[in-house]
């Protein structure tokens, strides 16, 4: 089953990169949204997957009764989900504001930081 999940991770990753490489803002933003999912699933699977035994200790026991899923990647991914969400929100607003200010949704035309044909650097002291 790891093979299938690994393939899914690969597909998610490919799709997100393919979208991010498009020049259009909306597609780039959707690519970023998928990227978070793919990385989270990667970390989750990297910690080994076991079927449907959540990491809980039953009432009245000090240890789980059987082998549970690995809790560590779950903890890591849980915060990662929230953080990637906050960043998605941030990127959305950033993209929106960039569109507003620069009047374009094409990343190739957003060249405030590196304008075309800018001046040569000054020589001397």
């Amino acid at each position: 089953m790891e093979f299938v999940i690994a393939s899914l991770v690969g597909l998610l990753m490919s799709a997100s990169i393919y979208l991010m490489l498009s020049k259009k803002l909306v597609r780039v933003l959707m690519g970023i949204a998928i990227l978070g999912n793919s990385v989270n699933l990667l970390i989750f699977t990297g910690g080994r997957i076991t079927r449907s035994v959540p990491p809980f200790i039953p009432e009245g026991s000090y240890l789980p009764l059987e082998q549970t899923a690995n809790p560590l990647p779950q903890a890591l991914v849980l915060t990662a989900i929230v953080i990637s969400f906050s960043f998605l929100a941030y990127f959305l607003v950033l993209g929106y504001r960039a569109y507003q200010e620069l009047g374009t949704d094409d990343v190739l035309e957003m060249r405030v930081a590196e304008p075309k044909g800018d001046e040569k650097p000054p020589l001397g002291y």
């Binding site: 990169i17 259009k24 909306v26 949204a33 779950q74 969400f85």
Partner: protein
């Protein structure tokens, strides 16, 4: 730490930095008279080191240490022996007078406080250089002196010339410093210690090490750049753009001697090899001759002095390279004498400039009656520089001739270079001290008169101490010179110093020759100047111009490079990044041949298949989405499928979180997309789509294969077992994931919620900042609108 005895050295090292902080405030209150208070700091430091002299002279060395960065073996330790004590005395002693002098020289300057601050920063750093026992500490102080030198040279930062000189000095000495750091690290590797005291005790370890050649070159680069040796000599004369107190202090008496200090310091462990005794005399000799020859050509008092400083540094390096006891004794004597007379002469030149309004030697004359004290100081200092008895300069010259002549092998050459250098130095000393004061009175831009006490106290004291040290040669030898010689030379050297030569020898003969030819050169100085000038014009190019070409070349090359690499095209950058990622994934697999094994589609339940396929369908729909709603909904489908997959594989917490996040994502996306009236249509050309598809596909494939390789490796269950075992027993929690989040790895979580919070703040800022600048339209457009 006690306030007296050896331990007080810590306070002595700290004091200048404290003074640097207080100086601006004090200067604001007391104006230029703050100099009197501030000069007490170096004076007290001087007294402190003077109190240690007798124990050092008796052959004791002191090491004190504080741990600084113990993991990297960096300690803040002090090593006191004859060499460092004498240097510390020069730095603090001359420093006191320079502070006084600066009080008078920059009287009424609006930035005088800042100047004092820089000066004290330098003083502290320089003390650090000579006192540091640890090589890394030494390096840090070494670079600090470069930086303070940069600040002081560029003090008058409104003038281009000052800025250029400051940058030049920083680039030359700073890059030398980098080489030095590398050299020090190699010394640490070869010698097994970063402490100077231990390295010095290691004997032949460094000389026998295979790294000796590299160490030697790197250390030389550091020392030569700092001490302005040919071909790095050009920055020093340019540094004369600095106010005169700086020239007197940094660029003649102390900082430029740091290179010589380093060579002398390492002489016991690096010296006396074929490389050492060839390279140092060659470069030193070249510097000596280049310095005096170019110096002859100058008419600016400060530049003449600057070039003789270059020459003197060359002489010192040459003698250090001779590596025999007498030569080193000569070098030590000359170093002390030079610091005294050159500091004094620089201040004298500054006073003339300050009071008469020019320092061009051809426009000065007959100032002896107007400025008698300055004249006296100039003459006394110049006599020492010329090497006439009974000054310290004379003794130094005797012994250095003796040592140069006695050098095995290259004795004649070294002696000849020293002789030629000293003859021209004699002429220059005479010119500097006599020309402005003797002869007819020449009208100067300002009406010349004697400066205030702040201006003449320094030069006269330094010049007189040159005389006194000469007169009491035996005591000077016992307390100052011999301890330093023994530190530099490794052994003990108890021979006494005499003012009057005991017998006729080669050295005396050379001295007589120097004086005779020197007088002759002085009388013909105008002819010589013209000759040298013509020769230099014929050569045209020099390292100084080379520096400009280098800097311009650097800027132009980097500009070209940047324009090639950073095209400003976002897509190119991202493609480059992802190609790099793909290479990082595939290259290791290809080189090791560890491809993951294909295990097939077995044992996946129906539900699992269903949601994996649903996720893939969602992906496809996102990529091909023609409108916003399709895109957002498809994104949601993929996200929810992933959430279900988490549930299926035993992660209900993740699943819940993912569900909530996907819901909110859809809400937020919808909110933004309603504003962002854009179609998610793919506008790329077919070609671009293929390229992007290949890049994206290979990165995806790479990660899938990486993941497969990872899961096929044996699993190290240490951490999960730890969490499982202790989750309830010590953390009282049955939900392992939550226990990890809030307890075992709570610090991580603090960081993560801080990130969430910062993202929230950033969004708020982005939205708030908008309304502020509703830019007025350019008039042309408004007109157009009106017309329509």
């Amino acid at each position: 730490m006690p306030f007296s005895g050896v331990e007080a050295t810590f306070w002595a090292m700290l004091a200048p930095f404290v003074a640097a902080v207080l100086a601006p405030m004090l200067t604001q209150k007391l104006k230029h008279n703050a100099a009197w208070v501030l000069a007490a700091v170096p004076a007290l430091i001087f007294v402190h080191f003077l109190s240690l002299v007798s124990s050092v002279a008796a052959g004791q060395t002191h090491t004190l240490g504080l741990e600084w960065v113990p993991t990297y073996g960096v300690t803040f330790s002090i090593y006191l022996d004859g060499l460092s004590t004498l240097f510390a005395l020069l730095i603090s002693g001359i420093g006191a007078f320079v502070v006084l002098y600066a009080g008078g020289y920059l009287k009424g300057h609006p930035q005088q406080g800042r100047f004092f601050s820089f000066l004290f920063l330098f003083m502290g750093s320089m003390l650090g250089v000579v006192l540091a026992d640890n090589l890394i500490t030494l390096f840090i102080f070494w670079e600090l002196t470069s930086i303070t030198s940069f600040l002081l040279i560029g003090f008058d930062n409104l003038r281009t010339a000052s800025r250029r000189s400051a940058v030049q000095a920083l680039v030359v000495t700073g890059s030398g410093g980098m080489a030095l750091l590398a050299g020090f690290l190699l010394i640490g590797m070869a010698g097994g210690s970063m402490e100077m005291s231990e390295i010095l005790a290691s004997g032949d370890v460094l000389r026998d090490s295979g790294l000796y050649g590299a160490i030697f070159i790197l250390v030389c680069l550091g020392a030569f750049t700092k001490s302005a040796q040919f071909p790095f000599h050009f920055w020093l004369p340019n540094a004369m753009e600095a106010p005169t107190p700086v020239s007197a202090y940094l660029h003649s008496a102390t900082m430029v001697k740091a290179g010589v200090y380093l060579l002398m310091r390492l002489n016991p462990v690096l010296g006396d090899t074929a490389l050492w005794t060839t390279v140092l005399p060659i470069f030193g000799g070249l510097t000596l001759l280049a310095g005096v020859i170019i110096g002859i050509r100058q008419t600016d008092l400060k530049l003449m002095l600057a070039y003789t400083t270059v020459a003197s540094l060359g002489l010192l390096v040459m003698l250090t390279g001779a590596s025999n006891t007498v030569a080193i004794k000569g070098a030590v004597l000359y170093l002390v004498a030079h610091s005294l007379f050159k500091g004094s002469l620089f201040m004298m030149a500054g006073t003339i400039d300050h009071e008469a309004g020019t320092r061009d030697i051809t426009k000065l004359g007959g100032l002896r009656n107007a400025m008698p004290i300055t004249f006296a100081a100039a003459v006394l200092a110049a006599l020492s520089m010329a090497g006439l008895p009974p000054f310290l300069g004379f003794i130094a010259k005797e012994i250095l001739y003796d040592g140069a002549y006695g050098t095995v092998g290259s004795g004649y050459l070294i002696s000849l270079a020293a002789l030629c250098g000293n003859i021209l130095m004699f002429a220059l000393a005479a010119a500097v001290a006599l020309k402005p004061f003797m002869g007819e009175k020449v009208e100067t831009p300002k009406h010349a008169h004697e400066g205030p006490i702040l201006l003449w106290a320094g030069p006269i004291t330094l010049a007189v101490s040159g005389l006194l040290l000469g007169l009491f040669a035996a005591h000077a030898g016992y307390f100052f010179i011999n301890p330093m010689v023994s530190a530099v030379d490794g052994g003990t050297y108890g021979k006494e110093l005499y003012l009057i030569p005991k017998h006729l020898n080669m050295a005396l003969l050379m001295s007589v020759l120097t004086i005779a030819l020197g007088i002759f050169a002085y009388l013909r100085i105008d002819t010589l100047r013209e000759l040298v000038g013509r020769a230099l014009t014929a050569i045209g190019w020099g390292p100084d111009r080379g520096f400009d070409q280098l800097m311009d070349g650097l800027v132009i090359t980097s500009d070209k490079f940047i324009r090639t690499v950073q095209t400003g095209s976002m897509v190119t950058y991202m493609r480059a990044c992802f190609i790099a990622v793909a290479l990082m994934l595939f290259v290791p697999m290809m080189t090791t041949g560890n491809w993951p094994t294909f295990e097939g589609f077995q044992n996946l339940t129906f539900y699992e298949w269903a949601f994996v396929i649903l996720a893939v369908i969602g992906l496809y729909a996102v990529i091909t989405a023609k409108n916003r709603v399709t895109g957002i909904v498809s994104l949601g489908i993929t996200g929810f499928s992933v959430a279900v997959i988490y549930t299926l594989f035993g992660a209900p917490d993740l699943s819940l979180t993912q569900f909530m996040v996907e819901t909110l994502s859809v809400v937020i996306l919808a909110l933004v997309m309603t504003r962002l009236d854009l179609k998610p249509k793919d506008v790329r050309s077919k070609e671009d789509r293929v390229i992007d598809g290949v890049i994206a596909g290979s990165v995806g494939l790479g990660f899938a294969m990486l993941l497969m390789s990872v899961v096929s490796l044996p699993f190290d269950a240490t951490l999960p077992e730890f969490f499982t075992q202790f989750s309830y027993s010590i953390a009282h929690g049955r939900n392992l994931v939550n226990v990890i989040l809030v307890d075992f790895r709570g610090f991580d979580t603090i960081g993560e919620i801080a990130v969430v919070m910062v993202a929230g703040l950033a969004v708020l800022a982005l939205i708030r900042v908008r309304a502020k600048k509703a830019q007025p339209k350019p008039e042309v457009e408004v007109m157009k609108e009106v017309a329509e």
